[in-house]
């Protein structure tokens, strides 16, 4: 029999998709699970796998063709039928052709037409990663990082975020001493990844077409801010003990080449706190509130001109080591835009961590249908009062955004109090 392959829904918000590349030709044998095509959604370019085995009888959509979710992309002959016949039947329906090349953006109004006028059009969001890119660490924001093999190996095992490392080799290549220096003194502030835009000369303008991702972000966030009555609750947490616990654990884990981050410990505490406060570990569809017995933690990851929120599933069932390993994997693949569809949905609570930028505090916008999001700022030494005197302690400020339709301020505050207790006395997580 013949089986249709249709445009899958690869994200919650996806309504249509573009076939970027076919990996199989008509007449090719395909096996279930094999990579069939790259499909661009509103968020990223993702792989589409075959769900059935057989012979690819017909490709109904050319590369570059855009169709709604559910539309037929191809037909697979799974039995003894003649693929040619299947194709002729299938093609009776209208095939979508590749679109015309996008029109060039008009020059900005009011600008002269002389050669000095620089009107740049930004390229669309990064496309599929090269098939040979087998090492996720070697890419940052879809671009290759210049890094030596030795430095890469050390960074991978130490869990160093390469986007924060300043290379001192030729042409900024990251070499071993840069990783060593980074680990000795990770940049305290303002060395967070910065995508430096091309300079725009004086008198020039730059017109940038909205990418699909920007459209999606714009649509979702406007919807969120206009429909959800956000409230914000901020709390200071003394993470001195937690930091030293982390150091002790890392010393033990060094031989296993694992290096925990503060976020990992935070994720662990969040899982415990959220299960104690199920009102925040929930989704709301406008009618019903759904609470969950597991914590699926969404983690916002910045990528060029946008962000992706991979989901760490069942974090409540994980130990710290697993949290570290799975987070590193998700973040790296998110940056390379190589996440699978189900790795980006189903979060029951989200965090946004801008600690690397040295922020004291900030607030985040809720990603519906979730009902809350936690904004994590930088852990830093601050002067605080302890027992009547001023001492330096490592402090961390967290800001909870809650959806007041379903979670009241007191619920949010109670949750934060629990979280603070866990972070200030990490042993509580053992209970």
């Amino acid at each position: 029999m013949s089986v249709d392959i249709t445009m899958p829904q690869l994200s919650d918000t996806m309504t249509e998709g573009t076939v970027v590349k076919w990996y199989k030709n008509e007449g090719d044998r395909i096996n279930e699970g094999e990579k069939l095509a790259d499909v661009e959604t509103d968020k990223a370019v993702m792989e589409m796998e075959a769900f059935t085995s057989g012979v690819l009888a017909a490709r109904l959509i050319a590369e570059g063709g855009k169709v709604p979710v559910g539309a037929r992309l191809a037909v697979v002959a799974t039995g003894k039928e003649d693929p040619a016949q299947v194709k002729s039947q299938a093609s009776a329906g209208s095939a979508v052709k590749a679109p015309e090349p996008a029109k060039k953006a008009e020059p900005a109004p009011g600008e002269g037409t002389g050669p000095a006028t620089a009107t740049a059009v930004a390229a669309p969001v990064a496309v599929a990663p090269s098939p040979s890119a087998s090492n996720p660490v070697a890419e940052d924001n879809g671009r290759p990082i210049r890094i030596s093999p030795l430095a890469r190996r050390i960074a991978l095992e130490k869990g160093v975020d390469l986007s924060l490392v300043q290379g001192t080799g030729p042409l900024g290549r990251i070499i071993e001493r840069d990783i060593t220096a980074f680990m000795a003194a990770p940049p305290a502030k303002v060395t967070a990844p910065v995508v430096s835009p091309a300079a725009i000369g004086p008198g020039a303008t730059q017109v940038i077409a909205m990418t699909k991702m920007r459209h999606a972000i714009a649509k979702n966030l406007v919807a969120s801010k206009q429909t959800i009555p956000h409230y914000y609750s901020t709390i200071d947490i003394d993470v001195e003990e937690l930091s030293s616990l982390r150091e002790r654990l890392n010393a033990i884990l060094e031989s296993r080449r694992i290096r925990l981050s503060l976020s990992d410990l935070l994720a662990r505490a969040l899982a415990t706190a959220l299960l104690e406060h199920p009102a925040l570990n929930a989704t709301f569809d406008g009618t019903n509130i759904t609470r969950y017995g597991d914590v699926h933690l969404g983690m916002a990851v910045a990528i060029p001109d946008g962000l992706i929120v991979p989901v760490l599933r069942n974090v409540n069932r994980m130990g710290l080591i697993e949290i570290r390993q799975r987070t590193a994997d998700l973040v790296e693949r998110a940056r390379a835009q190589r996440l699978k569809q189900d790795e980006m949905r189903g979060a029951t609570f989200s965090v946004s961590n801008l600690g690397a930028y040295g922020l004291r505090e900030f607030s985040a916008i809720i990603n519906p249908p979730q009902v809350a999001v936690l904004a994590i700022a930088a852990a830093e030494k601050r002067a605080v009062v302890r027992g009547g005197s001023i001492v330096a302690r490592t402090m961390l400020t967290l800001t909870l955004s809650g959806d007041h339709r379903v979670v009241d301020g007191a619920d949010g505050a109670d949750f934060l109090r629990t979280l603070k207790g866990l972070l200030e006395e990490p042993g509580m997580m053992l209970l």
Partner: protein, 496 residues
């Protein structure tokens, strides 16, 4: 040759140290591998540059070191193979006669040709050249003392001292140039000595031992330290010692030279230690090290700081005087106490001098200037078999406290080496165990000096064990031994 403008005379007012009132942007004192490279690089960058050399351009390396000795060693090996290996390869030769003067002559003609090549490069890059001794008067000011007492002062914004080094005599035993000689005389002897004693079995001592042994001279090689080639890995020295001994060289390691006396027929050495005794020879070659050439420099008058006769510099090649720099064999490098090189001596090698020159001149010209990492200096000895190395010996790597993995591949297991009839030796690679960082390379075997470049590049690019073993090496070549040694470190070599 010089076309100086506004030529100051002796006793003229001291030139300003800043500003553009100088005849030259850069004055280089010395025309060896440090000096000529600095001068040419400066010329390339459009600087007005003067190079002062008292003798022939090219310095010791071209004229009295690296290059002429390689010519001698090639010829010696040619003779040795005819005499000892021709029969095994089915070639019958009659009695072999060696024209020693012709061998020396070929070596000299190559040196002269290369020295002329430097003069040509100077002209091409607009480098001015003066023959004479350069004396530092003050920062910015140098006196050229030419032949016949002619003196002329020149001014330059930057002064680079690159005066090189010369052989150090044995304490209490002066060179006489006839019976007690240094390397320079050893490469222009009037006739082949019957019996030659060599004190010092570093690269120079071992190379002359190899050469003269090949031509039929009886050679006694004396080394005070535990093994010959003392700075090399123990395993390498053991192989070379075995080969040398098999060829009839009297190797006396761990042996001290107590006395050198001139006799009616030659010299007599009195030795103590592991292989003590009295040795009579026609000539003794002293090759125990080199000392900086700083006596004509006027260091004391100019208040230039020296350390044990060498110009003291920091790792940026700065002396104690402003805009006065020093590079190459004449320097004593003062590493910072926290440097991994703290306590080390400057490696007196032509390629080090060359890189120091380019690094310094690029920096002076605002073109960056890649600093030299003294941990990874390659070194070669052109004995037969050759020795090539870089980085830590196994002993030092273990002493450093790191966990290491060592991979060794013998040439006896290399098809290419067997085909060449050169199965002595091995490639030994030392890796840090956790990340596979390349810490040391030690090779002995035919033409291994040419194999070293691959590992120099690997080190520079921070390639690890994994990249070296997985890089496809061509078959059949000696270079496969590098790949196999890397594989052997992880217990996965295919051919052993």
């Amino acid at each position: 040759m010089a076309t100086a403008t506004g030529k100051p005379t002796a006793g003229a007012t001291t030139p300003a140290v800043t500003g553009k009132g100088f005849e030259f942007d850069i004055i280089v004192i010395g025309g060896g591998p440090a000096g000529y490279a600095a001068a040419i690089r400066a010329g390339q960058l459009g600087k007005r540059v003067l190079c002062i050399e008292k003798e022939n351009l090219g310095g010791t390396c071209l004229n009295w070191g690296c290059i002429p000795t390689k010519a001698l060693l090639e010829d010696g090996e040619f003779v040795r193979r005819i005499r000892t290996e021709a029969a095994d390869r089915g070639v019958t030769v009659g009695s072999v006669t060696v024209d020693f003067a012709k061998i020396i002559g070929r070596s000299r003609s190559i040196a002269q040709k290369l020295s002329k090549g430097i003069a040509h490069l100077f002209a091409k890059h607009q480098v001015k050249h003066e023959t004479g001794i350069g004396r530092l008067l003050a920062p910015g000011r140098v006196r050229i003392e030419g032949a016949g007492g002619a003196k002329r002062d020149v001014t330059g914004e930057h002064i680079i001292i690159a005066t090189g080094a010369r052989p150090t005599p044995l304490p209490g035993v002066e060179f006489d140039g006839v019976k007690i000689i240094a390397s320079r005389q050893a490469m222009i002897l009037p006739s082949l000595p019957k019996r030659l004693a060599i004190i010092g079995a570093g690269a120079i001592g071992c190379e002359f031992a190899d050469f003269y042994n090949a031509l039929g001279t009886e050679v006694v090689l004396v080394e005070m330290l535990e093994h010959i080639l003392p700075i090399e890995d123990d395993d390498v020295a053991v192989v070379l010692d075995r080969v040398f001994t098999k060829r009839g060289i009297d190797v006396r390691n761990a042996t001290r030279t107590d006395k050198v006396e001139s006799t009616a027929t030659g010299v007599r050495l009195t030795l103590s230690g592991a292989k003590a005794g009295v040795v009579d020879a026609d000539i003794v070659l002293v090759a125990i090290g080199v000392s900086g050439n700083t006596e004509g420099l006027g260091a004391a008058e100019a208040k230039l700081e020296l350390f044990r006769g060498r110009v003291k510099v920091n790792p940026q090649f700065a002396t104690n005087l402003p805009n006065v720099w020093a590079i190459g064999d004449c320097v004593a490098l003062d590493f910072r106490a926290d440097s991994p090189m703290a306590g080390s001596r400057h490696p007196d090698l032509a390629h080090v001098a060359h890189h120091e020159a380019v690094s310094l001149v690029d920096r002076l010209a605002g073109e960056g200037g890649e600093p030299i990492d003294y941990r990874w200096i390659p070194g070669c000895t052109y004995t037969h078999p050759q020795v090539a190395s870089m980085g830590m010996t196994e002993k030092r790597a273990r002493q450093s406290g790191r966990e290491i993995r060592v991979g060794k591949f013998p040439f006896a297991a290399s098809g290419r080496a067997l085909a060449a009839g050169e199965s002595d030796g091995f490639v030994k690679l030392i890796f840090e165990a956790k990340y596979g960082e390349l810490l040391g390379v030690h090779m002995i075997g035919q033409d291994v000096t040419e194999l070293l470049a691959e590992l120099v590049l690997a080190r520079k690019l921070e390639a690890t064990e994994q990249e070296i073993l997985s890089a496809m090496h061509p078959h059949p070549t000696m270079s496969e031994a590098v790949m196999e040694a890397a594989a052997a470190a992880g217990g996965r070599a295919i051919h052993i």
